[in-house]
């Protein structure tokens, strides 16, 4: 629908839905379907990388075939989509990380070639630029990351409208030819990193697991499973004690899988974790998410394991996937 430039453009990140409805009905339907799947929690299955793959595919489709014109529009589009996804898939922090990372790629591309205006170091602003730039400039860059995290500490000198519809610096509104391909590259990079994920972690296994040790873990996790299998493949002779993780009892299948791989496993109830901890050398916990203050989100029961280990002064290792996001948090 042609008309004023205002209507074909996204005004702010909350406007994305309306914009999609007017111009890209099918994409809106796709978004809604994805949100539904997220809400149902069906995507997780066994391998949480599926979530990343689906998110990246979805974003690829969104970015690839919608009519955004300049970096500012794309940035707003991504932010809007991210906002929607966050509401539905809040229990999967990795989705937000993926979106943020693509947005960072957009900013990086937009800031590229603009050293005379901004002394850019990877898209971030330096003190000089903050002093010399327009006040909206400062507002725009800060509001992107802080509004999402609900930062209420800042002074109320900025009007609310500015937070919602930030003004980007002027060069953000210029059309750039290489932007789409850059963004697609960034997405490919994310997906490629997932391939090497386990390899990078498992390379370090000899540093952490030695022969004759007793390792304790809780529940079922693919990362930990591959880590331990890699240790077994290196002919290290160790034993594994697995907490079952009631009520889901995912530890039962973990025990079976590891036993089939030839490891010496013992299955115990969650209640026995304190009792056996006196004999355990190391504890390996899977990470659902690592938060900005260093806290760890794990499947239920990880807290008991961690406290017991601390009391018995075992060493703890968090099994984490490699970071794919620059901002807070990892998978």
């Amino acid at each position: 629908m042609t008309g004023l430039a205002d209507e074909t453009e996204i005004r702010n990140y909350l406007d994305v839905r309306r914009w999609l409805e007017e111009h890209h009905r099918k994409h809106l339907a796709l978004l809604d379907r994805f949100l539904l799947e997220l809400r149902r929690g069906r995507l997780k299955q066994m391998d949480r990388r599926i979530v990343i793959h689906r998110t990246v595919d979805f974003l690829r489709h969104m970015v690839g075939s919608t009519k955004w014109k300049n970096p500012a529009q794309l940035h707003l589009l991504l932010r809007g989509i991210g906002h929607e996804l966050q509401k539905a898939g809040y229990h999967e922090p990795s989705i937000g990380n993926v979106v943020r990372r693509i947005m960072a790629a957009v900013r990086e591309e937009a800031n590229f070639d603009n050293e005379h205006t901004i002394d850019s170091t990877g898209g971030r602003l330096s003190l000089q630029s903050m002093l010399w730039a327009l006040p909206q400039h400062v507002k725009a860059s800060r509001s992107i990351s802080s509004v999402r995290s609900g930062d209420h500490q800042r002074q109320e000198s900025f009007a609310d409208a500015d937070l919602v519809s930030p003004e980007y610096p002027a060069f953000y509104y210029q059309e750039r030819s290489g932007l789409k391909s850059t963004v697609m590259e960034a997405m490919d990079e994310i997906v490629n990193e997932l391939e090497d994920l386990y390899k990078n972690i498992n390379e370090q296994v000899v540093n952490h697991i030695h022969s004759g040790e007793i390792i304790l873990t809780s529940g079922r996790s693919k990362t930990v499973e591959l880590f331990l299998k890699a240790a077994a493949a290196k002919k290290l002779d160790f034993q594994v004690i697995i907490c079952e993780g009631a009520p889901g009892n995912s530890g039962h299948s973990m025990a079976k899988v590891l036993a089939d791989a030839g490891l010496d496993v013992t299955l115990i109830n969650d209640s026995a974790v304190f009792a056996v901890m006196a004999r355990v050398n190391k504890v390996i916990l899977p990470a659902h998410a690592v938060l900005a203050n260093g806290s760890l989100m794990t499947p239920s029961g990880g807290n008991l394991v961690a406290l017991a280990a601390k009391h018995n002064s075992s060493q703890q290792r968090h099994g984490i996937r490699r970071s794919a996001g620059q901002t807070a948090g990892r998978y």
């Binding site: 007793i214 034993q239 004690i241 079952e244 993780g245 009631a246 009520p247 009892n249 039962h252 025990a255 079976k256 590891l258 036993a259 030839g262 490891l263 010496d264 496993v265 013992t266 299955l267 115990i268 109830n269 969650d270 209640s271 026995a272 974790v273 304190f274 009792a275 056996v276 006196a278 004999r279 239920s300 029961g301 807290n303 008991l304 406290l307 017991a308 009391h311």
Partner: protein, 445 residues
């Protein structure tokens, strides 16, 4: 790490002070395999040692001369592969708990006979049938819990004593000896060895019984002995169990519980906790309870029924969900199976986890135990002295060579997690348990 470089020594040169060991006989491949099989058999024989397997066959096959290339025939006499299924299911965790007695499956211990329960593998001809019946109940878990088991033991003894009076009435026989050798000792041994290892409560009560028997007057005739003993037994039950529980409930309600807005966290099933809650309800305390339960026994369900009967608002969670509810909790009340003399508390497995989380949140942990459960043992951690339960309750997949299930029944809560121990003699800090022990047994140093 020192690197050893291989130096090719020419065979003629030998330094003067080099000692060369005599050359080993070169074995053929078949002989080497035979040797290996033999060593493997010897190793498994050693592991099955307490089945009467005898010494492992000595290594005589080193010489190359006459060993035949067939599979070795020397196997230890009790090769387990061919024997019928035994009553014990070995469930070790790489030697972690090899010092503990393996769990005995009640199906294999007892015949499901018509009238009388019969025991397989144990000579019960000299035992009273009631003893076997009680043993069966211990073994299957129908009677569970420190107080319940102790009560069952005492009542069994009280019930069977009169049956022995008519049998041996001769006056020159010391009836006390009879009681000791023929009734008490065999029954207790039978229960411990063939049904289920005894608890500390049972052990202490049994010690009391023996002392009571020894202190019977020599001149009493059989019937009088029996009467006196039954009286002692009932007195012990009344004072050390029932009265103690009532006193603990009283103390807790009066001194520890708030008038209102009390949120108690309890774990599993405990008789004394039920008594406390009953007391709280009759004292009109406004409270609610968070009940934590755990697999595999899920004893909390029993407790839940009792709490609901009392009409107390209750939240039921599993162990893993504890941290979510802890911000509301004001106190933690725990039952116990035994109290060690250094103040550490032995309880149902999982108790230590509850106490640990409470300590991490700075919530007071109160352990409620009758004094007859105090043991003069000192235990440093949970595994040195424990009991193994049925591994099938953990998971129904069987044990394989490298996959085992471990079902521990008890765990030890360190004294540092416990804020106070409520006994019928008062509320004491955990370090005072040794004092209580001394007070109760003044004749012991």
């Amino acid at each position: 790490m020192s690197t050893e470089t291989k130096v090719e020594k020419p065979k003629k040169e030998k330094p003067a002070n080099l000692v060369i060991p005599p050359p080993k006989p070169k074995l053929s491949k078949a002989e080497r395999r035979a040797l290996q099989e033999q060593q493997r058999a010897a190793k498994s024989a050693l592991q099955q040692g307490n089945q009467g397997g005898g010494k492992p066959p000595t290594n005589e096959q080193k010489s190359s001369a006459t060993s035949t290339p067939k599979q070795p025939q020397q196997q230890p006499p009790n090769q387990p592969a061919d024997t019928p299924k035994t009553a014990t299911t070995r469930s070790t965790a790489g030697g972690l708990v090899s010092h503990l007695k393996a769990h005995q499956d009640p199906e294999l211990l007892f015949e499901t006979g018509a009238t009388l329960r019969a025991s397989i593998g144990a000579d019960t001809t000299q035992l009273h049938p009631a003893v076997v019946e009680t043993g069966y109940r211990f073994s299957t878990g129908q009677i569970r819990g420190g107080n319940a088991r102790c009560r069952a033991m005492l009542e069994t003894f009280a019930a069977i004593l009169p049956d022995y009076v008519n049998a041996s009435n001769s006056t020159d026989e010391d009836f006390r000896q009879t009681i000791d050798q023929m009734i008490l000792k065999p029954a207790f041994t039978y229960w411990t060895e063939h049904c289920r290892p005894h608890s500390v409560s049972m052990g202490n009560a049994f010690t009391f019984l023996k002392t009571a028997v020894a202190s019977l007057d020599r001149d009493l005739d059989a019937m009088a002995c029996v009467d006196k003993l039954q009286e002692s037994i009932h007195a012990y039950e009344r004072e050390r169990i029932e009265y103690a529980m009532a006193a603990i409930a009283d103390l807790t309600c009066q001194k520890l519980l708030r008038d209102r807005d009390e949120v108690l966290l309890v774990y599993g099933h405990s008789e004394v906790i039920t008594k406390i809650l009953q007391g709280a309800v009759s004292a009109c305390r406004q409270l609610r309870v968070i009940l934590v339960d755990s697999r595999p026994l899920l004893e909390g369900k029993k407790q839940l029924e009792k709490i609901r009967e009392l009409g107390i608002p209750c939240t039921y969670i599993l162990l893993n969900a504890m941290t979510y509810v802890f911000q509301d909790v004001t106190k933690v009340l725990l039952g116990t199976a035994a109290m060690m003399s250094d103040g550490s508390v032995m309880g149902r497995v999982g108790t230590a986890s509850v106490a640990m989380v409470a300590a991490a949140h700075n919530i007071p942990v109160l352990v409620c135990g009758e004094t007859y459960k105090i043991s003069n043992r000192v235990q440093l951690e949970s595994i040195t002295n424990n009991e193994l339960g049925d591994p099938n309750l953990v998971s129904t997949d069987g044990d394989t060579t490298n996959s085992k299930r471990l079902n521990l029944l008890y765990d030890l809560t360190p004294a540092s997690f416990v804020s106070g121990i409520v006994t019928e003699l008062g509320i004491v800090p955990p370090t005072s348990i040794a004092v209580l022990l001394r007070e109760m047994n003044p004749q012991e140093k």
